[in-house]
């Protein structure tokens, strides 16, 4: 295999969306991909992330427009609802297909 071909293979890895690739964010996006919307507490319980951690990841995903965050009050309690945007849905799908393509014929 020529050096150019080797570089082309590795270039496929460089194209991976790093925002989605991070395990905690991937977990959040995978969950939001399969549900319509979920609130902060539900995501914390499902992913096992701490409040601060989830909050930081949520800010990053919201920053690039992958998720939509709605803050409201339920009675006297604040409630934050998260939903995957169309852009986020597409990014997650692209990421999944890309990873499948990269490791398509990998047999260890």
């Amino acid at each position: 295999m020529s050096k150019a071909e080797e570089n082309a293979d590795l270039a496929a890895l460089a194209e991976i969306d790093r925002l989605v690739h991070e395990p905690a964010r991937l977990a959040v996006m995978a969950l939001l991909y399969v549900v319509d919307s979920a609130d902060f507490i539900f995501l914390m319980n499902q992913t096992g992330l701490t409040w601060g951690n989830l909050s930081a990841h949520m800010a990053k995903l919201e920053g690039v427009g992958y998720i939509e965050v709605k803050k409201a009050f339920k009675g006297k309690r604040p409630n934050t609802t998260l939903r995957l945007t169309d852009k986020g849905r597409l990014a997650f799908l692209k990421y999944a297909l890309h990873m499948k393509h990269v490791f398509g014929d990998f047999h260890g």
Binding site: A30, L31, Y33, V34, V35, D36, S37, A38, D39, F40, I41, F42, L43, M44, N45, Q46, W51, L54, S55, M58, K71, R77, P78, N79, T80, T81, A96
Partner: protein
């Protein structure tokens, strides 16, 4: 170890966590106990008081269930809205159950008409076996069949696995209520249905404590 990310399984797992609070078991258990009041035929004769007590206790059971969901489950476990597939299943369940309820109402109306019209009642009695025991057995079986399959349908559409065993126990409770006319049996069955719910609720409260971080938006 399965390292594949199975999205369908992920959704199902998230959905099943909504049953961890045991409130559905408690509701079905309470419904059976309420029904024992409704189906009991006192020696003095069946009175409208049975229906009034049944209606009141059913309303109370449902209020307790929704209050539990609102004040115990949601603040601890959070809220989630599932996708179109789940909503479609619930809609299908509503349509199927509406048909079932219509059939049940039609049967009940027929029974009321037989009470109100002695001629029709006499004809209906003629069609039943002469033996009281066999007649009661038929009525008890029909009553059990009205309840059991409905709950099985609910369990199927809401993906509630324990619902199948609850449906069988409820059908048995109704059968015993009508056939033996002793409320103690359905009450025991109601308690047996509710008991796992109590255990699950205690576990749920331990597993999901109230979170203080929610004092402000993150």
């Amino acid at each position: 170890m399965n390292t594949q990310l199975n999205l369908k399984e992920l959704e199902r797992k998230a959905f099943l966590t909504t049953y961890q609070d045991g409130l559905w078991d408690l509701l079905f258990g309470l419904i059976v106990i309420c029904m024992s009041v409704s189906f009991y035929r006192p020696a003095s004769g069946y009175s409208p008081l049975n229906i009034v007590m049944f209606s009141c206790s059913m309303v109370l059971a449902n209020v307790l269930f929704w209050a539990g969901k609102m004040f115990i489950t949601l603040p601890r476990m959070g809220q989630v809205k599932f996708g179109a597939r789940r909503r479609k299943r619930v809609l299908t369940m509503i349509i199927v159950l509406s048909v079932v309820v219509l059939v049940q109402v039609a049967l009940f109306s027929f029974q009321l008409a037989a009470w109100a019209n002695p001629e029709l009642g006499a004809k209906l009695n003629e069609s039943l076996p002469k033996s009281d025991a066999i007649g009661l057995l038929i009525v008890a079986s029909i009553s059990a069949l009205m309840v059991g399959p409905s709950i099985i349908l609910v369990a199927y559409f809401i993906d509630f696995q324990r619902g199948y065993s609850i449906a069988i126990m409820m059908a048995l409770a109704v059968f015993l209520m009508v056939y033996l006319n002793r409320p103690i049996y359905p009450i025991i069955i109601g308690i047996l249905i509710a008991l796992p719910g109590v255990v699950l609720l205690v576990r749920f409260l331990q597993k999901y404590p109230l979170r203080r971080e929610e004092a402000s938006h993150e």
